[in-house]
Symmetry: C2
Subunit: 366 residues, 2 copies
């Protein structure tokens, strides 16, 4: 007997084509061959995708619901992505907007190993929102990056992450950059009494990434960042599974212009596959997600899901200090605000600006 | 002194916004912060992206040319993707259409380790086009898959690949499926005298993929398939670098609806990063690339590029036997035709259908 899970796509096409389009997706995302060529009764009954609903959304768009077989996903996050979107990603007029998560997937992938509460506990944050910033720009030599991180940490922020463009470039090689910044942030923490965390960006294939993880661990670091759509979602899964002591911030690089709805991708899928914090492009910044999408993303990250830990919504992308009250009104206390570039505009006053950011967040729910 | 390479984007926006949009991409894809906050003269001169051209394309679209710094890419294919599209992928109205490949990138990434000529040599194909098919559907038990592969190989085809949906599912676990199919194809080769290759699909993170590769090698297999946009382009790079005896077919799953132009992604980037054959959704099949895009993809895969081997263009996706002459007219001899599902419609006559396909290709340029 087959166990199925539902996926939902939005499709834009003429009304007379939608049934064929829906059936096309159901076949593409399961057996990818003409059904008349399938003679195996079990494959026809249990494996071939089934269209279970088509709803008109107006303006030439339709919601298509398809039942896929749980057993086609196996145990790999990459294969799950392959089955829920894979080849269908090559159709420009289709987006994946929902995926039902059965208990079996929660058991297989395990979700965040630390999540919202783990990331709060690392920095002794009680139930308040968290603060984060980024070390920029790439191209600075290691001592300048370490000095910048030190001054940001003196402001008492919770998490100070690498710019996601920091990889292993000659101007600041990973093996020199990470120990120097880790030490600079640690020294600041001794002065402030706040256990500010430095979060290095991981890169490369899983072999090279693990070499980076060994170095990271030796520096006393317990929180890292990676971009699942750049490094592969199976790499995120491996990181959560094999380095479960590390908390993981998922960066949105290469997450696309909406072919997977961001609330689904960040709030549900990245969380399911093991990301502890979900960095996403907030409304009103440099990117275009509407407020409703950001609210849905946050709600998904925090919603009960077969006992998985909550993910930490982390809005970012052109945020500013002046927006802190508005953002906390909108997201509530279960959030990490990430303000990067605009803090750096403070120049010589960067510590004070960081401190003002952190105080504004601390004070809001005090 | 900085060495730069050019990237080209197509942007759709009102004409009065295009200069700001272009500058926005240049900043996003380099330092990702407000320029007034950068005090380091070298970063401003050598690292910040520079808009070097804006051309109107008509109908509200523009081509934007940007010079990025070679040194920001480092040595990782994932980081290269991060720098050429990364965050900008989150803008729906932007696509990446060209990337200049300087000699430094060719030296770093190395391109195909076998390429067009290596894949021809494996099957003793001289200068003729190659033939390929796929083993489908997933869900069949291992003996049925092996039997199908055996019969397809009896038709004398060159490459018989896994369906890209074959991962490590319980109904046909990798460790049982691959040896059984490899043996079935080998037995057929003894009968036909043709060295038909079985090409298994690799999955999971690079650690698990390497365990699969060890098993694959032990089965005498020398050609594998993986999906770079699913498993991560750094994983493709690692595969080409660390298992250079394996030829690699790149599968297009998760390659998106055109946010990276397919000719660039398959013909230039996958080739640069080490893919030997480029499977792409051909015109006139289930997917929508126009003929001009397919021609450009093929031309890029074969074009001289700092001495890198040619990639093998492999059109697929709803192809049929009757189209062989048309496709060979279009692509010429430097191509591998991949006909999957429609061959399987032949049912009991599958060997004859496979043989007819192979003969049609062999005969065309004879």
């Amino acid at each position: 007997m087959s166990t199925r899970f539902h996926t939902t796509y939005h499709v834009r096409c003429p009304a007379h084509e939608i049934e064929a389009r829906a059936q096309g997706i159901a076949v593409e995302q399961s057996v990818e061959m003409p059904l008349p060529a399938i003679t195996d009764a079990r494959v026809l009954a249990d494996i071939v995708g089934q269209v279970t609903g088509i709803a008109e959304l107006g303006e030439g768009a339709f919601a298509v619901k398809i039942a896929l077989a749980v057993e086609t996903v196996g145990t790999d996050a990459g294969q799950m992505l392959n089955m829920i979107l894979g080849n269908t990603s090559m159709h420009a007029c289709v987006s994946l907007v929902d995926v039902e998560i059965p208990l079996a997937f929660a058991a297989t992938f395990g979700g965040p190993r630390h999540g919202l509460e783990g990331l709060r506990a690392r920095v002794g944050a009680g139930r308040r929102p968290l603060t984060a910033t980024a070390i920029k720009p790439q191209g600075l030599p290691v001592p300048a990056l370490a000095e910048l991180a030190h001054r940001l940490a003196l402001g008492g922020l919770d998490y100070i992450k690498d710019d996601h463009n920091h990889a292993d470039q000659a101007f600041s090689p990973f093996a020199r950059r990470v120990p120097a910044i880790a030490e600079a942030v640690r020294r600041a923490g001794v002065l402030t009494g706040h256990p500010t965390r430095y979060v290095p960006m991981l890169n490369g294939d899983w072999g090279r990434m693990q070499a980076q993880l060994r170095l990271v661990r030796d520096c006393g670091i317990d929180t890292v960042m990676m971009a699942p759509m750049l490094s592969g979602v199976a790499t995120l899964q491996a990181l959560a599974r094999e380095w479960s002591e590390m908390a993981v911030l998922a960066h949105p690089s290469m997450s696309g212009g909406g072919q997977i709805a961001p609330d689904l991708l960040f709030g549900t899928l990245f969380r399911l596959w093991g990301a502890d914090a979900l960095i996403f492009a907030n409304y009103g910044g440099r990117f275009g997600f509407p407020p409703s999408m950001c609210a849905s993303l946050s709600a998904r990250a925090l919603a009960p899901l077969h006992g998985l830990r909550a993910g930490l919504p982390t809005p970012a992308g052109g945020m500013e200090l002046a927006r802190v009250p508005e953002l906390l009104d909108f997201f509530g206390p279960d959030v990490m605000l990430l303000i990067g570039g605009s803090l750096l505009l403070a120049g010589a006053r960067i510590e004070q600006e960081g401190a003002a950011f952190h105080r504004a967040v601390e004070a809001y729910f005090a």
